[in-house]
Structures are given as C-alpha cells and as structure tokens.
Symmetry: C2
C-alpha cells in the first residue's frame, strides 16, 4: 500500500561505531518475502526503540538522540546499538520489552532471534547482581574445590513430606550436598511446603551430625511474589541457605524482588529454567539461552541451570560451555559479544537432566570444578538405592579429580561399579 | 543404550476418559527421529507430572494417583489429563513449570506446542480473576456501547513528560478515552514516570472539563514488583483508573501480586504482551497466544492485547477472534478445548498494532463492540495532527455503528476524509 511509508531507513547506519554507553545487541534475522535485509534491520531497530510504522505529524527533537541504529549487517546477523537513555536503571522487564519484545511478532520478519547483548558498564551498575555467586555458594556449603552435588527425589512429585525428607536424608548420607525440589513441586496437599521444610530440617541436622559435613537443600518457593517472600523467610528461619525459583515462569520482575529479599536473609537463589525451551529451542527465532542466563546474572541469581550437553535435554557442548563461561568470567570475550561484568559477581552454572555416574567425566570435562552437578534418576535408580547412588557419583567425582578412569576406580568402589553396570558406562574415547 | 529403559508407557492410556477434576491439556507434538508417537506422548505426560528418565529403586504409592495420562493421540495432537492434586491452588508459575516447562526441551521431541488447557472448576476457584473485567472497564470510563479507544504517543519513546502530556491532551480532545504508554517506556531520565503521571493528570482534568467526558490513561508501571506497587499507588493517588503492565516480561508471579494490589486500589490492569511472539509465533513449538491469554484471565488482568489480524503484527483472523471469544465468554466451546469460567469475570480484548481509521471497519467486524481499540501512528500521523486523527477514528467508529460506509461518512467528516486519503482506505469487497 502506498500509504505505508516507513522511516526505517533512518534507523540503519551500516558503519555505525557504538560508543561506550550504548547497549549493543546481536540478532539473527530473516526478512519476510519482499523485504530487503536493510529494511528488516531498520525495522528491528525502529520497533525496539523510538519508531512507529508510519510518517508522523510531529516529531520530538529528542528522538534523534535516542534512536537505535542497525549496523554490521552480515548475512543473517545484524547488530543494533541502543542509546543508554532508552533504558530505566535497574529495570530488567523494561529492557526485555524493548530488545526482546514486539519485534518478534513483526510481519516484516520471518524469524528473529536475540543472540546476545553487551550490557554497558553504566547500565550494569544499576543492578546488584548475585549476592553470593560462586564463592558465596562454596562458602555456604564449605566445599573448596570439587563440584557441588545435588539430587532431586524422583519421581518428580508424589512423595509425602516425610517420604521426601527420607529421600533427602539418604541423598545427604551418600555424600551429596543438596537435595533439590523439582520444578513442578511447590506446595501440594500431600507434600506441603511448610511440612517439607521442617521435616527436612530435622533430618538435615541429623545428617550433618553424622557426617560432619554441611548439608542444604534447594526448596522450591515458586509462586506469587509475596508468597515467595513468605516462603523464603520460612527457609531462613529453618536454617536453609538456599531458595529455588523457577525464574522463567515467575518472571524477571519477581526475581528482582526476591534477589533483594533473599540477600537480606543471607540465602542464595537457585534458578531453575523451566519453560526456557519454549523460546530458545528454535535456533532461528526467540531468545537464546545464553542471553537468558546473562539477564539472570545481571538481576542476581546465584546459580542457574544451563544444561548438560550429554543428558536428556537439548543443548550442544559449545552452547553449554559458552554459557558457563559467560556466567563465571569477569571479562567475557565470546563466543558472541564481549561483556565486562564490572563488580557483578560470577554465577555458578548448574548441570542437570538425565545424568548418571557414568556421565560425570564428560560433564566435568565440560564444566571444570566450578559448577553444581545434579544427578537424580541417576542416583535414585541405583540398584542399591539412593544412598549408594549418591556414593557412586561422589566416587566418580573423586576419580575424575584424581585423574583415574572410572572403570579402574570402580574396581575398589562397589557403588560406582553397580552404577556403571546398570547404565552401561562407555569408556572415554 | 540398553540402560535407558523408561516407564513412559505407564503414562499413556489411549482410551482415558478425564474426570471432572482433571486438567486436560492439548498439545501439538512431533516426535524426534526413532521415537514413536506413543512414546513421545508418554514422555510429555511423564516429564510434566510424576516421571523420570530411568527405572527407580523405590516408588511412592501415591505416584499412581498423580500420574498424568496421555490420551486421544490423533495425528500430531495429543491430550494429556493431569490430576488436580499436582497443582498448588492459586499458583500460576507452578502450573506453567509443569505443563509448559521442561517438556519443550526434551530430546525425544522435535517440536512441542501447548495449544490449550481446560482448567477445572476447582482449580479456577483458587484464583480471583479480573477485578474489573469488561463491565468494570466500561464503568470506569462511562462508555456504554462503543469500543473503548486509546492511543500511544508516537514515536514510542522520546517525548519529555510535558510533551507526552501534550500529546495525551490532543488525543483526549479528539474524542479518545485513553492515552497509553508504549511497552518500552517506563521511567527514563527525560520522561520520569512521576512527572508524566502528574503532568498528564492536570491535562486530563482539563480535557474532562472541556469535553464532559471521562478520560484516563494506561501508564506503564512495568518493573520490579515493589516498584510496580509503588507506581500503582501513585497512579491511584493521581486519580488514574488503570495501570499498564508488560505481563510477559514481568512474569506471572508479579502479575498475580499486582492483581491484588490494583484491586485494593480500585484500578484496572491493562496487559501488554511484549515478548509473546518469542514463544508463540512458530506454530509447531512453544505456547499459543490463546493459552497465554487464558492464563492472564485466570490470574486477573482486566484487558489484554490480542492482535488485530489486519495491522503490522502477526496473527490470523481465526486466531484473534478465538482469543477474543475465550476472554469474553463464560462458557467457551472452542476453537480448541471447552472452558467453563465459573465466576471469573470476562476480560476486554485489546486490538493494537499498525491500525488507522480505514481499518476500523474490519477490526470492528472481527471484535464487535466489546474491545479496546488502540490507534497510534494512525492518529498521530494524520495530516492535521493528533486531535484530528483521533476525531477521524471516532468518526469511523460512529460510521460502523450506524452502518454507513466510511467513504460515504467521510463526505461530511473532513478528518476521516483526510485520514482515508493518506492511508488509502480500500472499500470493503
């Protein structure tokens, strides 16, 4: 239609050199039929900053200062530079509404994916980041070098609070640090949150006495914001050092709120990512897991699930190790854009999903030691039960840290042997 | 691998007849290579309820009572019935973590889409739904029959608070009910929320005096939860009847919190859906806009964006009218699953995105009268400015309500004539 004249071309500057204060986003994009790459890129920059779809009668003078600019259009990738003034300090949902909002639904694009963003120093300083981070989590649990270990009672849901606490006890007695709720278990009629918190606290104290080790749990407070705050306080009052939140289904507004509440209580936030694959699985559209994890470091979760690359869930080795690096490093060089995290603390990556003792070597090879290793079906499915299963994982970790092949180590460690026999451990090739 | 025996088959019951209390979800699914439809369906039911990926040593007795069951596998669609006991009353994020969580990332599936869910009566009663809804919004604005009208100052962002208020005044004086913030405008250095709220309130009072009509605004409080609450109170204190929230980027946890806060203040929630297309655009994967809108009615927004079917954003007529019906009806028959909303109030659908006066007839043909019509570029781009643009839209609405062709009506209404000339109104064929 002749009336549909856009001013998208004013949002494209192929040779733009971003200045310090600008936020630079990297998008993958495919223009719709009949749309040039330049027009599509301009529309992304326009719709996500100061544009509209038609010519206007009046234009405020300031628009020139806050327009985003698409630049470096290379094949199906484009960078967009956003002036800092567009963004409200400390407001993560607003940022998403801009750089990850309406643009995904534009007819001018067939596909669009937000891959990464370089968050400018000034913007980062308006957020507090993790209160504990990698060092803080190690300090809560008093674990110096090895990966942190945790397990979810399986099946995911169905235990009474007492049964659940019993499984936790076995998990701790097998050598594990953490017992974790699953993402769909919050408070149910047969396993009330309050009951679980109290019953587990008693058995935690017993396990600590018997092992001399620090034991903790990742209890799922996911829910309405004030209810989460109430539950976080209950966790604190019962001596727990962590709270678990399904950060995607709850959303960034409430995670920001809980970050400060939990910091006041001194407890760390374990971020589960349920629902992420609704928007990050298609490599051509949506939001990358890499960027989701970045936002979560910014707003201050202390650890977050990033996949395994080897278990039941999607995610390649390159993706997973890229995310782990972005979470743990202070100056990130890649694999996408660079990021200087300033004084924002490093976040502990969490590896979870379909793991068993035989998979410990490749997972540790991918993550190193600074990560939380969750093994659930892979311990509760052990032929001799949960405690033996947890022991088998701890043995596998010891083997890797001592540089010994699992099959070799299994000769003197029967729990590991039984696990490898059940789950067919394949020698590293 | 031989060790990878699943018990997914226990989660498939082809002839299952769901009982009253069960929640039934409709999924579109494509199994991964080498996986049968039955196995894939079983894995969906398992991972979203009480499953795990391997055989277990101990199984709690209760699991039999809370397992989900996949049934009616028809081509690429499957229904899954979830026992009510799985879900915590009044906890929307938990529901999403179950039925829209990990399952999207399972390797056993190539694609998976949550299309719809029938929410059982008992579950619905644990939520409060909208405080105002369709009738409440009409009552706030004192508009009996015609669609509610609103406009976003364009460009989306860039005005000072004073300029912004000036555009709002012109919008109101042209006959519009509402002036709306854009999704990426919250509070910026050049247009602070507090300034905008106060400056607009003064001009609102003037516009009300001069027109004798009720005028209001959709000011964007999107942000961290407590900050949203603070801003909602400020809106109330300045006499505003609405608050706008980017509900997807904020997330369901905070929207639930704000629902109650806003109800206490007597203000209605306008839900913007920025970011929805990150997970609802691919028809084979993610979460449907239909289901997103359903969750938002459940947790209690008063109006929500659903698309236009004719403007700049994606969404077909069938999709858009299906969503509008689900939001407004008490007993929904389709197009997917049935839904009895009980005492949960109807929600006002909002049509927005690339509209102009010439598109008013097809949009009203699609929505009827019970909707909020947002026209922004299509009024501010009017050759004679915003006030004339708003007048042109009101004239177009009058024409449709009186059953008169726009071109005919434009003969005696010059603002409409100018708008049709600029945007090339096409006669209905």
């Amino acid at each position: 239609m002749a009336g549909k004249i856009d001013w998208y071309d004013e949002f494209v500057k192929p040779d733009h050199k971003p200045i310090n204060d600008e936020m630079v986003c990297l998008y993958y994009f495919e223009p719709a039929k009949g749309i040039t790459a330049e027009e599509a890129a301009g529309r992304i920059a326009s719709e996500s900053s100061a544009g509209t779809w038609t010519t206007l009668h009046d234009l405020p003078a300031r628009v020139e200062k806050i327009k985003a600019h698409a630049f470096e259009i290379k094949g199906k990738y484009v960078k967009v530079a956003y002036p800092l003034d567009l963004w409200e300090p400390g407001n993560a949902p607003q940022l998403l509404s801009g750089i990850a909002g309406n643009i995904f639904g534009m007819k001018a694009l067939r596909n669009l994916r937000l891959v990464d963003a370089t968050l400018p120093e000034k913007y980062i300083r308006s957020f507090r980041g993790p209160n504990h981070g990698v060092k803080g989590i190690r300090s809560i649990l008093n674990i110096k070098k090895r990966p942190i270990t945790g397990a979810v009672p399986k099946p995911k849901i169905g235990f009474t609070a007492a049964e659940h606490a019993g499984v936790a006890f076995e998990t701790w007695m097998g050598g594990f640090d953490l017992c974790k709720d699953d993402e769909n278990l919050t408070s149910t009629s047969f396993n009330r949150f309050e009951d679980r918190v109290e019953k587990m606290a008693k058995l935690r104290d017993r396990a600590e006495t018997q092992t001399g080790e620090q034991k903790d749990a990742l209890l799922n407070i996911t829910g309405e914001t004030n209810e989460m705050i109430r539950k976080a306080r209950l966790l604190h009052d019962n001596g727990w050092g962590f709270a678990m939140i399904d950060v995607v289904t709850c959303g960034t507004a409430s995670v920001q709120t809980l970050r400060d509440e939990c910091a006041d209580l001194g407890i760390a936030i374990h971020a589960h990512r349920a629902m992420h694959a609704a928007f990050d699985r298609n490599p051509k559209h949506g939001i990358s897991m890499y960027f989701l994890a970045k936002i979560m470091r910014l707003i201050g979760v202390d650890e977050i699930h990033v996949g395994t690359a080897v278990g039941k869930l999607v995610g390649t080795k390159k993706e997973v190790s890229g995310i782990a690096g972005m979470l743990r490093e202070n100056k990130v060089a890649g694999p996408y854009l660079s990021q200087d995290w300033g004084s924002i603390k490093p976040v502990m990556p969490v590896s979870s999903g379909g793991l068993h003792p035989g998979l410990v070597p490749p997972v540790m090879n991918l993550f190193g030691n600074d990560f939380t290793l969750l093994v659930s079906g892979g311990i509760h499915g052990h032929p001799a039960g949960t405690r033996a299963g947890a022991a088998a994982v701890m043995q596998a970790i010891d083997a890797v840290m001592e540089g010994i092949d699992l099959n070799e180590y299994a000769k003197k460690n029967k729990e590991l042997k039984q696990a490898l026999d059940k789950w067919e451990y394949l020698k590293p090739r």
